[in-house]
């Protein structure tokens, strides 16, 4: 058990990559808090995974809600060792058709939400002189993608945010890294048309799409003491799509 007795806080934990990480951490003896706007799925996921897992309904872009949730968690668990900033949305549209609202909602949740949660939790990590922050970015933030200018910008923003946080917090024994997943089989990618999926597959040297468990394995390593000398990095997890 690599993360025994640690407390992990995972945003967007109701499904997909977040739920995959929650499941993996529970197997490692971690106390896990999952947050999500989708209370129904979140509650179900917590029940399904079982063990020391707790669901809180939280919108990461709502400063008041974030503050309240984090305070409740600190009162309950007295610390947060690991933060996984995973919550995110897409509003795909070619730039010519993209509205300001499409842009602002994606930036507001993916990037500003990540900022709000990190800022709120890092003060506790600074005090305890220990922390692991893992931001879920995307290869799209590195290489771009047609129809995803807003999403790509938010993920590229998360990468810059990761590196700045890493530099600010290194002196407090807090590491900050980003995982840039490629094509992972989740709810976010299930509606992509088959033809486009097949085209993607041709570009992936390992010839398969990733699974939430693949991301969870890397998140587990980056959260462990074995990764204590790694900070400010972006690790692509994409079957070789970007290299």
């Amino acid at each position: 058990m690599v993360l025994e007795s640690k407390v992990a806080f995972i945003t967007g934990g109701a499904s997909g990559i977040g739920a995959g990480i929650a499941k993996k951490f529970i197997q490692e003896g971690t106390r896990v808090i999952i947050c999500d706007v989708d209370a129904e799925t979140g509650t179900k996921t917590a029940q399904q995974i079982g063990g020391n897992i707790h669901f809180y309904k939280m919108d990461i872009s709502d400063e008041g809600e974030v503050k309240k949730t984090v305070e409740t968690v600190i009162n309950e668990f007295s610390r947060i060792d690991i933060l996984i900033n995973n919550a995110g949305i897409t509003k795909d549209r070619l730039l010519l058709r993209m509205t300001k609202q499409d842009w602002e909602s994606v930036i507001g949740i993916n990037l500003t939400g990540t900022f709000l949660v990190t800022k709120t939790i890092m003060r506790y990590m600074i005090k305890q002189r220990y922390g692991r922050i893992i931001n879920i970015a995307s290869v799209v933030g590195l290489i771009g993608n047609p129809g995803q200018a807003n999403y790509a910008a938010s993920k590229a923003g998360i990468i810059g945010f990761t590196k700045s946080c890493a530099k600010e917090l290194a002196g407090r024994n807090i590491t900050v890294n980003a995982i840039a997943p490629g094509f992972i089989e989740t709810r976010m990618t299930e509606n992509i048309p088959d033809e486009i999926k097949q085209n993607y597959l041709k570009l992936i040297p390992l010839r398969r799409f990733g699974l939430p468990e693949d991301v969870a394995n890397l998140a587990l390593f980056l959260s462990s003491d074995q990764a204590s000398y790694i900070t400010g990095q972006v690790v692509c997890l994409d079957g070789g799509l970007v290299m």
Binding site: R123, I126, E168, L169, G171, R172
Partner: protein
Amino acid sequence: MKQKKKGEKKMALFDDVRDIIVEQLHVPPEKVSLEAKFIEDLGADSLDTVELIMAFEEKFNLQISEEEAQKLDTVGKAVAYLEDKTKA
């Protein structure tokens, strides 16, 4: 008599401030003089100074704006500021 009371309050406040600085910066209490500069004399880094401000806010139950915080570069300035803000 009034004068003395005021002086006592100031000393108590200085003691509180000193305790916070000693805990935050891991310096011996005797180094914490009113003239001491947080960064140059007490070895604080930029994040330490932010943490100190947050600790003051918590201890004295007040909000210190970013502009005000930047001016508080010595122990004496912090004590004077907190004294001013906490007087009834």
